[in-house]
Symmetry: C2
Subunit: 708 residues, 2 copies
């Protein structure tokens, strides 16, 4: 790719950025879009819908940028929890390392690449026609001593990143602990989940749980709630919710509707009556099912067990309860709001099999995802495309079209396909038998990350057929060499990838394209102000995205330092936009208290080792053997550093220690409100399906319009 193609791409995207920012500034002020752009503020009652029209609504203003910029970490913590803080710190972490790497890359490596020992002259006169390869390491002669500059850059940047990683791990671990110390008593701290409860004949699951914990935890056991099979009730409730909404739609604005539909008014009333009858039937069914569910027969072999102290709950969740390790399996309970009720596998075998299925599904999805990647590669290698479709030759000779196709289209197609990955992976994780949304999203996050790295990075890098790729991967010895050959060759693709995929993805996050379209379509039919659905940030989509750009930056910083300014622009955009979204849009659905950080840390270590392997391969390829050999201690040191961090910090993210648990428990003993808390504890883990019906045919909002 030549410089002008890149400039085209950058130009289009910069224009898009400005346009999107301006549009957003205007759109977010329209009361009709409040539900899309400030649902959180609406739900909290901070922002009221102003009906009066003002001119300033139509003038773009940058005040939201200033607001997002000024947000302190404490405010962010109160808004988005520790997970939000960790997410933003991931972005600032990337900003820090790429500022540092950028200074080295642009001021030292780029001039070296361009002017030292050039194979290809950097042509200042005809700047735009230069190949991008002029700016990469490929431009340096074999055996040139200038490569030692790259060598030291790799060492220095690795050292800097490791230092920063250690600092961040320590900081977030301390945040996690202080968050625990400062938190009020929370139900999940006093609760464990027990699964695979064995039952003898004539003895219900509830009795079994009661007698087991009364026997072995006599002084600390409080009570328990048995989980019930409620899939039927859940589907009925969904049906009733749909019906309710349909009725509500029909009733929503009778005057307007009458005006529009005219003669259909009678029919409308008939429909409503029909739906109401259906709703009543379903309610009857739900009531029947509920009374059945409360019988012993519908008990799942799982229960939430409550304890009097955090320490005893933690102890019970850590220890193997039964001689048979496949029975009485305990684990810490998730927050009540975080419980994932639909897939409540209680038996050991079923969970095991579903886990295996999930692994198989993940691997086959990841591999089959190569197809779009191959399409994208075809577009980058236009020559191949011309051979395949000779009819395109005439179009492809137009310079602008070629530049669009090679510079913009490939990564746009890839981006569209990548949009599918997070929801699919979340689905796979949800059938894996996790009991909480947080665990599902953490697991999905890992899956999305490996799928993205594999497909976008490794598969793009190792060009060739699918089988060819697999056989390359199996030949471990050849990997550094292959990486060194193919990674620098893909530099121009990834530079445009950052500009297109990166910038547009973060802009579409700001613009909330899909919710906006959804709201535009559904607007005529809804008018319920009371029901505002505040979304939560899909960490399993956004964490891998940010981390993937981190990976790109780390691996390419010494190969093609030109990528760094574009990456910095991406992270700056992300920094402002995500902070803005935390203020206006997202409300946390759960609190893992920083459990995403180990994923960030591991990915950074992986990126570093990958970069070091590529560096070793590159120096060998450039026939600078000593540099290649001296590169080998670096991955070893990096992995040792990682192992140290794993020992030093990881346990803090897995469980709380005895001293903090007991200290916290003792604090509570002074608290007079604990009796009340224990009372509430028992009802905290009620299955939402068993709560009183929310969408009833007798509910106010359905009756009100009838009266009006």
């Amino acid at each position: 790719m030549i410089v002008s193609a890149l400039l085209t791409s950058v130009g289009i995207n910069t224009a898009l950025c400005v346009l999107f920012f301006a549009c957003y500034s205007i759109l977010r002020k329209q009361p009709s879009n409040y539900k899309v752009y400030v649902p959180r503020l609406l739900a909290e009652g901070i922002s009221k819908r102003k009906k009066r029209f003002k001119l300033e609504r139509l003038i773009p203003s940058p005040d939201w940028v200033a607001k997002a910029w000024k947000l302190s970490e404490e405010e962010l913590f109160s808004l988005a929890g520790l997970d939000g803080v960790v997410f933003i710190r991931t972005i600032t972490f990337c900003l820090k390392i790429f500022t540092f790497a950028g200074i080295i890359g642009i001021l030292v490596l780029l001039p070296v690449n361009c002017w030292a020992n050039q194979m290809q002259d950097f042509d200042l006169a005809d700047f735009a026609d230069n190949s991008l390869d002029v700016f990469t390491i490929s431009n340096i002669n074999s055996g040139s001593n200038w490569l030692w500059v790259h060598f030291f850059a790799v060492y220095i940047v690795t050292g800097f990143i490791c230092l920063l990683l250690h600092h961040e791990y320590k900081y977030i671990a301390s945040k996690r602990i202080s968050h625990f110390y400062s938190s009020k008593p929370q139900p999940h701290q006093f609760t464990i989940l027990v699964r695979s409860v064995p039952t003898s004949s004539g003895c219900s699951v509830s009795d079994s749980v009661e007698s087991f914990f009364r026997e072995f935890y006599p002084s600390t056991y409080l009570s328990h709630v048995v989980v019930r099979h409620t899939s039927k009730i859940r589907s009925l409730l969904n049906e009733s919710k749909n019906l309710y909404q349909r009725i509500a739609q029909l009733r929503s604005d009778p005057s307007q509707r009458r005006h529009k539909l005219g003669d259909c008014f009678g029919q409308n009333d008939k429909l409503v009556d029909h739906y109401r009858k259906q709703l009543e039937d379903i309610e009857e069914n739900v009531r029947l099912e509920k009374s059945e569910a409360s019988l012993a027969g519908e008990e799942a072999r799982a229960a939430f067990v409550f304890f009097k102290s955090r320490h005893s709950a933690a102890t019970a969740s850590h220890m193997q309860q039964s001689v048979n390790p496949t029975q009485w399996i305990t684990e810490p309970a998730p927050e009540p709001r975080d419980v994932y009720w639909p897939f409540f596998f209680e038996s050991f075998m079923r969970r095991w099999i579903s886990k295996l299925l999930a692994i198989v599904a993940t691997i086959s999805f990841t591999i089959s995802f190569l197809i779009p990647v191959v399409i994208v590669q075809g577009l980058v290698n236009l020559d191949q495309l011309e051979v395949l479709f000779p009819s395109l030759t005439s179009i492809l000779t137009i310079k602008f079209v070629t530049q669009i196709i090679t510079g913009y289209l490939p990564s746009l197609i890839l981006q569209l396909f990548l949009k599918v990955v997070p929801p699919v992976m979340r689905l796979i994780s949800s059938i894996q038998g996790y009991i909480s949304s947080s665990n599902i999203e953490i697991s999905a996050c890992n899956k999305v990350l490996s799928c993205t790295i594999w497909n976008v990075f490794l598969a793009t890098v190792f060009s060739g057929s699918l089988l060819n790729k697999l056989s390359l991967i199996l030949d471990l010895k050849a990997i550094p060499w292959k990486l060194a050959v193919s990674v620098p060759a893909q530099a121009s693709f990834f530079i445009t990838y950052v500009v297109t995929q990166g910038w547009t993805s973060v802009l579409s996050e700001l613009f909330r394209v899909i919710p906006l379209i959804g709201s535009l379509i559904s607007k005529p039919f809804t008018s319920h102000e009371h029901e505002i659905d505040v979304p939560s940030i899909p960490y399993h989509r956004d964490v891998p995205r940010v981390l993937f750009f981190g990976l790109l930056g780390i691996t390419y910083f010494f190969l093609a330092p030109l990528i760094l300014p574009f990456l910095l622009a991406y992270f700056c955009l992300a920094y402002i936009i995500y902070r803005n979204q935390f203020i206006n849009v997202y409300a946390p659905k759960y609190e893992t208290a920083g459990k995403y950080w180990p994923i960030v840390h591991n990915t950074m270590i992986f990126s570093l080792v990958l970069m070091q392997i590529i560096a070793a391969g590159s120096f060998a390829l450039k026939k600078l053997q000593p540099a290649s050999a001296w590169m080998l201690p670096l991955p070893v040191l990096t992995l040792l550093f990682n192992e140290y961090c794993r020992q030093r910090f990881l346990p803090i993210f897995i469980a709380y220690s005895v001293d903090s648990l007991i200290n916290k428990d003792r604090e509570d003993q002074k608290d007079t409100g604990m009796a009340e808390f224990y009372g509430k504890l028992v009802i905290a883990y009620e299955d939402p399906a068993l709560l009183p019906i929310q969408y009833s045919s007798n509910s106010d909002s359905l009756i009100t319009p009838l009266l009006s």
Copy 2:
């Protein structure tokens, strides 16, 4: 190799077997050898040294075989603990699977190999000159449908082995639990070890431990013992022991000595006085060191902490104690007799570094061990040797010499080198920071196992230079193919390996060659009857040895079924001989309650998967693609089976469950002797170096000869 060379080797070894058995029968009856052959009985006082000579002493008798054969599992358990039972069950397990595989192999596979579609005619007339390859799978034509017989044999044997593995795992797990239930209160069940104890200034380790456990385990904490640095005292005590023995030697039989040395008598007395003075000096030093060691300055940052119940000790050892995971590291304490005092690393970093060093040492030792393997290979390939050393040609033309060299010498050399592996690996494991001999031996067992498999099996199989080998291993895709080519080619080597290495190793175990030689050399200088050193069985040497033959059998049963009868003979010998040694020689030094079984299980699974990969490669090599393809589900199923066993049984071998701990604790509460037990508990974990001096200059045995 041809049949006659094998027969030579078998002949030599069978003769050796008979000879050794006869010699053993005679030697074990000589009172002077009691210390070598029945130290256990001597120590228990069952066998007395009979001074009177009887003729029957010189006639070999097989009564010991009958005695070993009749031993029941309960008796074995009482003699050698659960570990001994597990070891013998490993041998019977191998006997069972190789009987089953042997029936299939000899009755079905061997005839198929010999007569079906032979490439090379099996020549009954000149039986001895047939190549051993006639009996292997190599003899079958490419694409022959007879290979399906091998295919089904692999499936059937895999199924049989998995069934048996499941049964054994279940049986040994139940034995472990019932052993726990039937055991009396033991100190290590109530004790944890805490390391990396942080100390503040002006506060001793002891105070720190006391205050921590008093605060967080107020109701269950009993007391503690701080570990002290005693390496100086230990070396002084060793010195004093040596001096003591030297004096005792000089004094042992003054009359005899006077007779022999005549004029030296005066000098002898002088020497004794000199040594006594030295001994007194050392004792003085020891006393000084001991009083110093009891001061706070010599405290290690580690302590044994005692609890009132098993459950609370288990809880404390399972949970992370401190917010900083590198402090207050707890683990279950080993049995008092099992504690390994010399390397008591207390700090987190020091243990971490020593662990890394141990890994590096293991890997480099394993790789450098290839040198003897290459020598052995040279002997097998005589042609290469002749090229290297032309002078040998004349000797090598003699048929008998050639047969000895190719059939016997290579595996003998390998055996001698392999003798070095277990002690070296034990040394490496001991610096790794384990606190108990049992853990050291379990870790050494794993190391010896991987070293043996790597060096003897994989490295012998992949012939070529060291670098060549490494590059082959890195090319994952080519491995099944390479294995399929080279493993059958080494069949004859491994058949003779079983006959020589296997049979002689187990015979030398019976004969106790090294202790016998040691006793013959030291006999003239010792006469202390009271000091009998009952050895313990070195599991880290014997478990890998037995398992390696299991691996050989499993991988070769379908390639060269001829190996099976020799293997069965080996396991029969091992069965009788090890049972005999448990009765007469070894006393258990520790009780891991069956923790060696998971190692056995894992090795069997590894063997199965290796065999299946070789099978898939062989069928592909023989151009029977469908059989090769249908072989692929088998390793997947085997690994799934292993994963199931890991989930179902492994936790039982790691820790005891809450219900068994609490039930056992409740049993104790009825016991009136618990107060006394708690009292003893505190002194159970005294460092032996701090106990009263055993070899004192004032002790009776030194004074008695002076008075006589």
